[in-house]
């Protein structure tokens, strides 16, 4: 099975969710005319508001259901072909059961209920909250408790947000739960300018192919662009195949849409040649025992 994915990296207006939703509406309209075969649109972490909000999180946070309703309305305003449908994966600050989260919504938007019922497939709440240096997430949002794979129209996928991927265990959990595609949303501020690439881009260029190659999954990465108070996000959205090859990569600073074809059959082909995930599954019992021992004696003797 094949499907078409688009990643849009944009510069949100800080705290202005209405404007940012309109921008997403413009992307819906553009894809409908320029690339109508697109099946899935991926947008970066906190794309509805910008990332560094501090206490402003409480001003912009909303429920996934409210966001879904707004996205569906805007989609239908901008896409008039009645048999049109688009899956969307995007980051936002969420208010859920009395707590704030840095979350990502995956939903199916349709131009008509008669053609296909629109629906929310999943909300991922960021599992690893960076709280060091320039980051201060634990102060303003709560931590998600699970990493899930979930079914979509195009196969089983998972979502990870930024630091989630910097811990290899996150992608491992996603792959073990059956994800064949991992959507990675980030707002990664650029720092360290000594090498060929900005330091954090160089690290992403190691991490994303690493995830893809270890578990033989597709990795679709959406990076925020634009400056917020002197901190510039490094874009570089990319699509990586299950062998770890980056098929296309956007610029580090400009707004852009990248497009690629995801062939889900490639996952099985890659895994047949490199059965690392199967080897991992076979040893899960021993690994679980070791993890339980570590968790039960936090201080090494």
């Amino acid at each position: 099975m094949k499907y078409e994915v688009a990643v849009a990296q944009i510069k949100p207006q800080k705290g202005d969710t209405v404007y940012n939703l309109e921008r997403i509406g413009e992307i819906f309209a553009q894809l409908a005319t320029d690339s109508p075969e697109t099946n899935v649109l991926v947008l970066p972490e906190t794309v509805l508001s910008g990332y560094f909000l501090e206490g402003g999180v409480r001003d912009v946070a909303r429920s996934a259901e409210e966001l879904f309703a707004d996205l569906l309305s805007i989609y239908r305003q901008n896409v008039k072909r009645l048999d049109a449908a688009l899956d969307i994966c995007l980051g936002f600050y969420e208010l859920f059961e009395g707590k704030y989260y840095n979350s990502a919504l995956y939903a199916t938007l349709t131009a008509s209920d008669d053609f296909l019922a629109p629906s929310i497939a999943h909300v991922h709440r960021k599992f690893f909250l960076p709280t060091y240096g320039v980051f201060d997430e634990k102060r303003f949002v709560s931590r998600g408790r699970t990493i899930e794979a979930f079914p979509t129209r195009f196969g089983r996928v998972a979502i990870l947000i930024c630091e989630d991927v910097w811990h290899s265990i996150s992608a491992t959990l996603a792959a073990l739960k059956g994800a064949m595609v991992v959507y990675v949303l980030s707002a990664s501020p650029g720092r360290e300018f000594s090498g060929r690439h900005i330091g954090n881009i160089a690290q992403w260029n190691v991490l994303l192919p690493g995830v893809a190659e270890e578990h033989n999954v597709w990795v679709v990465y959406a990076g925020l662009v634009g400056f917020e108070g002197g901190k510039g996000f490094t874009g570089s959205s990319q699509v990586v195949d299950p062998w770890g090859n980056s098929l296309i990569q956007a610029s580090m600073s400009d707004e852009a849409i990248i497009r690629a074809t995801i062939d889900m059959d490639d996952v099985a082909i890659a895994r047949a040649n490199s059965p690392l995930l199967a080897d991992l599954e076979a040893t899960l019992g021993d690994i679980t025992l070791q993890l339980q021992q570590i968790a039960q004696s936090p201080h090494q003797k």
């Binding site: 510069k11 800080k14 705290g15 560094f52 909000l53 501090e54 206490g55 402003g56 650029g190 300018f193 000594s194 090498g195 060929r196 690439h197 900005i198 634009g226 400056f227 917020e228 108070g229 002197g230 510039g232 600073s253």
Partner: protein, 287 residues
């Protein structure tokens, strides 16, 4: 016995500036994008003013602004005091010629002396502060006249040393150089085309005739930057000494760093509530 070759990792060299190297092309693109985003996209402005002193920091900012906004939208202002060196004025002219930015000269002698004539006991430090603050009055007023913002030129080394006049040099709301050590400013300036006579001359605040920054500090920028690099990474004084940095130099740099934290902050406000601004009520600068 069949002896295997043993390969040793190279020893640490405290005289190497390898860790301060930058990718100049990458950084230039980034800083140009920063200026465009902060000035045009966020503030909806098209122009900027910068005080052009004839020194390397303001020269580099003028070059970056010319790239970001177009030279015709950049207003360089020379603000000499009567004791300022002719070299400073001439070097500021070189920057204007090389970049094509607009230039205006507004002498501060009358304004600064208006007060200083009433303060005959003012020593060099006080006189320098008055000059720096007078320049900021002019820079902000000119930005108001032109409908734009002043852009700052303070580099990371002088910020860490507290080598600036509080709420003067550090007051412009946008600064592209504040996270660049002085030696990195030199490297970027050479790359972007700042005339070598400006890059290579001894850095000076030009507040007192013959004054240089490095004489004021008691250490060269090159040595100071290497030590600052490791102090900011979290290395202790004793660790740096073990690594081969001279103890007296480490102590000098650490003392300057530790005694100037206050200069890098807003005024200390007495906290009286649990909605205290910037303690509890937290909103980012661009919110």
């Amino acid at each position: 016995m069949n002896r295997l070759p043993i390969q040793y990792a190279p020893a640490f060299d405290p005289n190497s500036s390898e860790n301060l190297k930058i990718n100049e092309a990458l950084m230039t693109d980034w800083l140009v994008a920063f200026l465009q985003d902060e000035i045009v996209r966020r503030r909806k402005m098209t122009k900027a003013v910068v005080g052009v002193s004839g020194g390397v920091d303001s020269a580099l900012v003028a070059f970056l602004l010319a790239r970001a906004l177009g030279a015709e939208n950049v207003y360089g202002i020379r603000m000499p005091y009567r004791s300022s060196s002719q070299d400073s004025l001439d070097h500021a002219s070189l920057v204007v010629q090389a970049t094509g930015i607009n230039i205006q000269t507004i002498e501060i002698t009358g304004a600064a002396d208006g007060y200083l004539n009433l303060a005959s006991d003012a020593d060099g430090r006080r006189r320098g502060n008055v000059m720096a603050r007078t320049r900021m009055i002019i820079l902000f007023d000119q930005s108001q006249k032109l409908g734009c913002i002043p852009v700052g030129t303070g580099n990371k080394t002088e910020r860490l040393f507290g080598y600036f006049t509080w709420h003067a040099d550090d007051s412009p709301p946008v600064n592209p150089l504040g996270d660049l050590y002085k030696t990195q400013v030199w490297a970027l300036s050479r790359y972007i085309g700042v005339p070598s006579v400006i890059v290579d001359k001894p850095a000076s605040a030009d507040l007192i005739v013959g004054q240089t920054d490095e004489t004021d500090f008691g250490i060269t920028y090159e040595k100071a930057d290497r030590i600052l690099y490791y102090l900011l990474k979290g290395f202790s004084e004793s660790r740096l000494t073990e690594m081969g940095f001279p103890a007296a130099e480490v102590k000098l740099v650490k003392r300057r760093l530790d005694t100037t934290h206050w200069k890098r902050h807003l005024p200390t406000v007495a906290m009286l509530s649990n909605t205290s601004i910037n303690d509890y009520y937290l909103r980012p600068v661009d919110y």
